[in-house]
């Protein structure tokens, strides 16, 4: 009889331990899940912040690039002009772009002639320049978003009266994002 009572108590105690252990595991799992949720939200936020900063940077950078010494007209075509890109310099830069690959922090820079429209869909290289319209600074294709700004694209041109400055309307685009 006494033995049976002891056995019953032990069983009850074992049950309580099991109950407690089960509760603890559930509580721990609950905390782990909450923490995982917090971390996921946090890191997705971080990714968005990084993307936001990149985008903001690109918006400002596209204006900065057009006016940087490697692109800008300076006083080559008369007085200093803002948002004026020297096409001759651009073609030379394109040839040595390997050095500048990481310099502006963008995936690619493209300058597309929009007016006059003749040859505007032809990609420029050293053989067809200036009978072309798209100057892609870096040779790779890119995907992702891009930001753009209007610029004047100037170069020296020869005519029967000698050299003159020819300026056309173009759009400069800086793209961000993963490479294809």
């Amino acid at each position: 009889m006494l033995q049976n009572a002891g056995y019953g108590k032990m069983k009850k105690a074992q049950l309580k331990i099991q109950q407690m252990a089960f509760m603890l595991i559930v509580v721990t799992l609950f905390f782990v899940l909450v923490m995982m949720f917090v971390l996921v939200v946090k890191f997705s936020g971080l990714k968005n912040t990084a993307m936001g900063l990149e985008e903001k940077n690109a918006m400002l950078l596209v204006s900065k690039i057009a006016n940087s010494p490697e692109f800008s007209c300076g006083e080559s075509f008369g007085r200093n002009k803002i948002n004026c890109v020297d096409w001759d310099k651009l073609m030379v830069l394109k040839e040595s772009i390997g050095k500048y690959e990481e310099f502006w922090g963008v995936s690619n820079i493209e300058i597309k002639k929009i007016y006059p429209t003749e040859n505007s869909e032809i990609i420029c290289d050293k053989y067809n320049y200036p009978e072309c319209g798209i100057t892609r600074i870096m040779p790779k294709d890119v995907q992702g978003f891009d930001v753009s700004n209007f610029v004047t694209l100037c170069r020296k041109t020869m005519s029967s009266d000698g050299f003159y400055d020819k300026c056309e309307v173009a759009r400069i685009m800086a793209s961000y994002g993963g490479e294809k």
């Binding site: 940077n57 204006s63 803002i82 030379v92 830069l93 040595s96 050299f163």
Partner: protein, 305 residues
């Protein structure tokens, strides 16, 4: 008599206390780690944001642009410079004060296309930033100066005084200087932390002497720590070297259509100087070739810049 062990505590309680303590410890430990990670993230984000905010200072042809940067908490901005690679690198590290303690972070935000001049670190909630183009003789970059303390310009030459007044920067004074300002003297004096010899082209401080050949570099010498100044000057020369190659190639391209600039010799000379640049003491030797290039480009049939 039933034996209950030494502590007289039921096993279920003991088990719950131990596991509970472990869970609490883990929760506290992970929370602390997360707070640390968050702080590091904030510092890195602040560094990147500062870099992005500096972009508008680098557009246009203004002789000087100024802006302020307000931070929500006490912040330290550390500027570092490296000459590694083709263009070198500008690094910003931000540390913020939380619970009266400066956050420790080892995350640097790097920019190969920026040239920042400041003390070893600038500290405060409000930072004053201005930029000035550096021409050598073509435009090389916009130099950015970050300050937080007050500077008092004493006996500044007319052009410098005019420029400082035009900037309307709250921490740069020409008269009625507040106490504890750093005195920048152009004619010497007993209470001068920084002395400028405008004609000889050098800035001398307790820590040493650095050289300049135009106003953009003079301000850089005033506002920045000597080693940082020398390193940034070298980075500028690294860019000068690349730009001379670019202009040389442009000269070749336009000469194919018969438009000559006749700057090839001087450009190569400047490229050599820039390639062997070892410190701002070399600037003086480069002045003649820079001047010659400027004069020749001004009268060239096809100007290169």
């Amino acid at each position: 008599m039933k034996k209950r062990g030494f502590l007289q505590i039921p096993f279920a309680w003991l088990f719950a206390i131990i596991v509970g303590a472990v869970i609490l410890f883990l929760a506290v430990y992970i929370s602390m780690k997360l707070i640390g990670t968050e702080q590091t993230t904030q510092d890195a984000k602040a560094g990147k944001e500062i870099g992005v905010l500096l972009n508008p200072l680098e557009t246009g042809f203004e002789t000087g642009k100024t802006t302020t940067l307000n931070m929500p908490v006490e912040t330290r901005i550390y500027s570092r410079c490296s000459n590694q690679g083709i263009f070198g690198e500008q690094t910003i590290r931000v540390s913020q004060k939380n619970f009266n303690k400066w956050s420790e972070t080892d995350i640097d935000v790097s920019f190969p296309n920026k040239y920042l001049f400041s003390e070893n670190f600038v500290e405060g909630k409000k930072f004053f930033i201005f930029s000035k183009p550096f021409n050598f003789p073509f435009k090389v970059a916009d130099l950015i100066y970050i300050t937080s303390k007050n500077y008092c310009f004493i006996s500044a030459p007319e052009e410098v005084a005019e420029e400082v007044a035009d900037l309307k920067q709250e921490n740069l004074f020409l008269e009625n200087c507040p106490e504890k300002s750093t005195n920048v003297c152009f004619l010497g004096g007993a209470e001068c932390e920084i002395n400028i010899d405008y004609n000889a082209g050098y800035v001398s401080k307790k820590t040493g002497k650095v050289y300049f050949n135009n106003d953009a570099l003079m301000y850089a010498g005033i506002f920045s720590e000597d080693n940082l100044y020398e390193c940034e000057a070298k980075r500028l020369m690294q860019r000068v070297a690349q730009l001379t190659l670019l202009y040389n190639n442009k000269a070749e391209l336009v000469s194919k259509s018969g438009c000559n600039s006749n700057l090839g010799g001087e450009l190569s000379q400047l490229n050599n100087f820039a390639g062997t640049f070892s410190g701002t003491i070399n600037l003086n030797a480069m002045n003649s070739v820079v001047k010659k290039l400027e004069e020749k480009n001004d009268v060239a049939e096809c100007r290169l810049w």
